[in-house]
Amino acid sequence: MRLVCAVALNTFREAVRDRVFYNLLIFAVLLVSTSLVIGQLAAGQDVKIIKDLGLAASLLFGVGIAVFIGIQLVAREVERRSAHSTLAKPVSRAVFLLGKYLGLLLTLAVNITVMAVALFLVLAAYRALTPPGVQAAWAAPALDPRLLIALGLIYVELALVTAIALLFSTYSAALLAASFTTAIWVAGHFVADLRTLDQIGVTGGTAWVAWVVSWILPNLALLDVKADIVHGLPVPATQVVAAVAYGVVYSAAVLLTAMAIFQRRDLK
């Protein structure tokens, strides 16, 4: 465990050195500038739009980090041959990979926490500047603590995408790994469509293959409760727990596959 933590902390430090957290600055500027102009444009929908934007940007920035840092986690270490010196110590390949994964998860956790704080600060400012009569018309309060549920599930989605990026980075070049990971992330939002291909006239082998693939692909729609939270609709606790469990189990499966491939990889 100590070795895993050491690799993870080192990965986190590397991310900080790579100026990964500069994206937070862009996020903050985007959020604040949008909140300044949106009141003039959205006819009373400012809080909804700030929430939508904050949650969507947290996901997009996070996926960007997960994909582009995730694919470099192993590839860069192998290319620079720094992996050799690490693996020469009593660090197994599985521990190396797990440490890398947890290090990036730590980076993403810091990232999403700061984004959540920025989002709540902007929403708090909006609440302070809005008369109570107008606030009464909002579908959900500005400082809705349930936003944390949406952010939590976004984090689970990022953990899953990171695991996929890590899997591809164990055996393919960076560009291919980025393309594959992005493709899987996009396809993960079409799972429901794949399962209903027969309803639009697709039959036979194609429909059957699509149905099988739909169960293998990560079903990312399960982790998306953003719209429900923004509209103040109830999200059952059982659904949240099941979604988290699904994300954790799927990520673990992908991670184990990555470990299996990395064990056999020739690093020479």
Binding site: A43, G44, A56, V134, H189, K226, A227
Partner: protein
């Protein structure tokens, strides 16, 4: 001088020359009105392309709908076409089927008669029916359908039916039943219109909807005042005054005591040939609604 400073000085000089070129040689191009482009026409395709950011995409289409409506209304030259208004609203509500304000404002925008709007109450009703399909528990959509039929199509039976359906929904206010009854028995009465708009102004969840309802009430007051002014013109005409009509002429003749102003303080305008009176172009109440058949007050404009 260090090399770095030389580079920075070079960059500053180039930037300064770019500014000079822009200021001296590049003339601003004349304003052109470009049509609002609808890159995506299929709501189903838009939903898929938005991945899990469909709610944010709905917000963008909502803002585009607002901009399209506002910009077209403010357009001073050429015909005002609101061609993309319904597609924008359709996309926004398909991407976020619970986007209440898009349905409710959208219906107001769509049903507004030209030149202030496209004059499409049919599309307004279609949009609201889509909202009902997504959230059948929202009685407000039935209330809005009732308004569209009452105010814009003049079909009081359909308006009353919509109010009745809304009244049957759990949680709807008690006065929905009254609206249904009053609309059916006294449809076409300006006083009933006042009742409807007052109900909306008191119940609207949104500040903009409230303000719009209050504006409608002021428009009704203005229509009453215009009816009275038409009576004054008719009296003056009977007393021998002839066109060209003007307020100065009526004031000099003593038919009017003061310059007539609308409830927002902007003077009314009188057509010098026909004597018809209308709200001033600069009034927040302009354009006054074209009242459905049978809704106008009793005194008629002089011919």
């Amino acid at each position: 001088m260090s090399q770095r400073l030389r580079w920075l000085l070079g960059a500053s000089a180039l930037l300064a020359s770019a500014i000079a070129v822009q200021a001296v040689w590049l003339k601003p191009r004349p304003d052109r009105t470009l049509p609002a482009v609808l890159y995506l026409q299929s709501p189903a395709m838009a939903r898929r392309l938005a991945l899990s950011m469909d709610s944010l995409a709905a917000d963008l289409y909502w803002v585009r709908a607002l901009q399209h409506f506002g910009a077209t209304r403010l357009q001073s030259a050429g015909p005002r076409t609101f061609d993309n208004l319904y597609p924008f609203l359709d996309l926004a509500t398909s991407l976020d089927p619970r986007f209440v304000v898009a349905y409710r404002f959208g219906a107001i925008f769509l049903s507004e008669a030209p030149p202030g709007g496209p004059g499409r109450p049919d599309l307004a009703v279609r949009l609201l029916e889509k909202g009902i399909a997504a959230s059948p528990e929202r009685w407000q959509y039935f209330q809005d359908i009732g308004f569209v039929h009452y105010w814009w199509t003049g079909d009081y039976a359909k308006a009353a039916a919509a109010f009745s359906k809304g009244a049957a929904i759990a949680g709807s206010p008690w006065w929905m039943k009254s609206l249904a009854a009053v609309t059916l028995t006294q449809g076409g009465d300006r006083q009933t219109s006042r009742l409807l708009w007052r109900a909306l102004s008191q119940s609207a969840e949104n500040e903009w909807l409230r303000r719009d309802a209050q504006r409608r009430l002021l428009q009704l007051d203005a229509l009453d005042q215009i009816d009275q002014l038409h009576t004054v013109v008719a009296t003056a005409s009977a007393a021998g005054l002839t066109p060209p009509w003007s307020w100065a002429q009526l004031l000099q003749a003593g038919t009017l005591g003061t310059m007539p102003i609308d409830p927002t303080g902007v003077p009314y305008v009188i057509d010098m040939t026909s004597g018809r009176i209308d709200a001033g172009r600069h009034s927040p109440l302009w354009p006054l609604p074209t009242e459905p058949h049978g809704l106008a007050g009793s005194p008629k404009a002089p011919r």
